[in-house]
Symmetry: C2
């Protein structure tokens, strides 16, 4: 999920992360994650999906290939605006720095991804994942990719989200578990600390919070690459965890 | 080259970058670069090598496998101190964050790298690459890895370094050309900008500055990985350029 304010450089990184070519031999992350989430859905109903932290919309559009309706939300008004614009115009433009202030320009066309039809089933809204309006409910799937480690109160998001998922529906999370004090006060980290001398990993923390309402179906390691310049990248291995609403 | 002040997290990243295991299938960068630099030396005399921006010393120690004497310098007093300590004690300890505040501890022993003997030929000094003392001279090889893009005045370093290299000796640079205004004022970038509407790459800029005293022998792409946490990395493809002193 984008933070409230996104500068041009971050915006371009989000765009390329969503819509860019494969980098370093690593497949497009939103596309791969949605494919995986849909496989986990199996024969469950695929009426409504909720994409929390949707940035510029790739995962929301991909979900709309199979869901009847998709709602994508992000904290960043700019990202939501650009995602909605992409839906309406079918076009997104951005530029990535190659070296110093030199840049390479990119154009995304929804029809090149075969997403013109799917895009009609998607809508984007600006929203705070830790303080969601009641209207967001009755989802068969909640997809929250690289979100929890950027929230100011991840536990409140996780506690609240159960009320929005239909019985038997899925919550699919991905995270690098890369907690930062600047975004999440330490006392609100879900894991990545010691308690009584023992290491509490984020996966353990998630189980503590979610186990009363969810069953952990599976976890999976999925790498992603964010291109920063022509030569520099962020390479992350995220963990996907798949939770069934009891 | 480390900046003047290095915190614990950066220190650990430098340590692992120098001495860590292969990551993401990418071989150890200082080791590979020095091997490559030594190949370019061919039958040239291998008396004295200068490792500018040596951080915690891996490249300096590797150079000492074949050179009679190696001097490693860095702007960071902390890195120089730790490199010198490693030379004297044969031991280096550091810890890398895995998730949140959880850490994994590492120990480096010079003898496991077969470097006990080589280390006797190396000395480390704190120095500013843009303002080097006259004592640093008469080198058969100057190795400056991931340095120029972090200097406040890269041109003055490059103009000065020619006086310190023996005729026929080599200058070996590696860089991501990832110029940042915080470290290098824009008017001092060597490339990565437009001039008269045309893109000036850093390699072009290097040729403009160096060509009166050096011949460009070769360039080569070499990737490196910096581990930040268990799941997050910086993945960079540096360009090595090899210059012969005329």
């Amino acid at each position: 999920m984008g933070s409230a304010y996104i500068d041009d450089r971050e915006f371009a990184q989000y765009c390329h992360f969503n819509w860019g070519e494969n980098l370093l031999g690593v497949p497009n992350f939103p596309e791969i994650c949605v494919k995986s989430a849909i496989e986990y859905m199996k024969k469950r109903p695929k009426r409504k999906a909720f994409d929390v932290g949707c940035t510029v919309g790739r995962s929301s559009f991909e979900l709309a290939r199979v869901f009847d309706e998709v709602i994508g939300v992000d904290l960043s008004a700019r990202l939501v605006l650009e995602a909605q614009r992409l839906k309406e115009s079918g076009l997104l433009r951005y530029a990535i720095p190659t070296e110093g202030e030199l840049q390479e320009s990119f154009q995304v066309r929804l029809n090149k991804f075969g997403l013109e039809h799917a895009s009609k089933k998607v809508n984007f809204w600006q929203a705070d994942a830790c303080n969601l309006k009641p209207i967001f409910r009755d989802f068969d799937l909640v997809f929250a990719s690289n979100l929890i480690e950027r929230l100011y109160d991840p536990k409140s998001f996780l506690k609240d989200i159960r009320t929005r998922i239909c019985e038997g529906g899925l919550l699919v999370l991905t995270s690098s578990y890369d907690w930062q004090e600047e975004t999440t006060p330490k006392e609100r980290w879900i894991g990545g600390y010691k308690r009584d001398g023992k290491s509490v990993t984020t996966l353990c923390g998630l189980e503590e919070i979610l186990s009363s309402d969810f069953k952990l179906l599976d976890t999976k390691e999925i790498p992603f690459v964010i291109r920063k310049t022509e030569r520099t990248h962020r390479y992350t291995v995220a963990q996907m965890s798949v939770w069934e609403r009891l």
